[in-house]
Amino acid sequence: MAVTVVFIGKLADLAGEDEREVAAPLSWSGLAGALGDDIAAAAADERIKIAVNGKVLADKTSLSAADGDEVALLPPVSGG
């Protein structure tokens, strides 16, 4: 009954790790409870995107991850 949350770049620095397992289901409103206020606040920044299983959400507040899903928090890309 877990969701894997992947932290990329600056957000991994903030989280202190590259990924974390949290209890399913995970919704936008449950982010602070699952990951802490700091990360939830960072995720709220308009430049941060969220992907579920490799699909970037057009509206991240629609986040709804179930058991086995992988949720990634994505800072702005730097390019190659």
């Binding site: 990329i8 992907a51 990634a72 800072p75 702005p76 890309v77 730097s78 390019g79 190659g80």
Partner: protein, 149 residues
């Protein structure tokens, strides 16, 4: 169209990859290419490119799809490093083989512009005073916008 899109975790030789690419496309009238390297600027000691499995390579494939749709090519190669690189190390190689020169040029130019500003990579540099996250240069965004219709 045969294409070769790779996300590489180790160092590579662009010259060797280009030689193989040319051999694989004897029918092409021309091959345009670009090699991007870690610039030996200032006091950058290491560059780290971070990729995300679920997005980075799939994004490169989507880019290759778009290139194929826009231009008539005989072959397309996109090789991009991830991980830690030292100054002077190659980061990216893009090559396009085509019957017509302009197709090959524009395909490489377009792919590079998109890789530099819109691809799924995150970057940091280690300098004398530690690690620094890098965001794309405004110039790179402008380059990519040239292609937006």
């Amino acid at each position: 169209m045969p294409r070769d899109v790779q996300l590489l975790e180790k160092g590579f030789s662009p010259g060797k990859a280009l030689g193989l690419f040319a051999k694989a496309h004897p029918e092409a009238g021309g091959i345009a290419s670009f090699v991007g390297k870690v610039r030996p600027d200032g006091d950058v000691k290491v560059l780290q490119l971070i990729s995300y499995d679920r997005l980075t390579l799939p994004g490169m494939e989507t880019l290759a799809d778009e290139v194929e749709t826009r231009w008539t090519l005989d072959g397309l190669l996109i090789h991009h490093r991830t991980g830690h690189m030292r100054p002077g190390a190659p980061i990216v190689l893009v090559a396009a083989a085509a019957r017509h020169r302009r197709d090959a040029f524009e395909a490489v130019d377009f792919a590079m512009d998109h890789l530099k500003s819109r691809s799924w990579f995150w970057k940091r540099e280690k300098r004398g005073d530690g690690w620094h996250w890098i965001e794309p240069r405004e110039e790179d965004h402008e380059d990519a916008k040239r292609w937006d219709v």
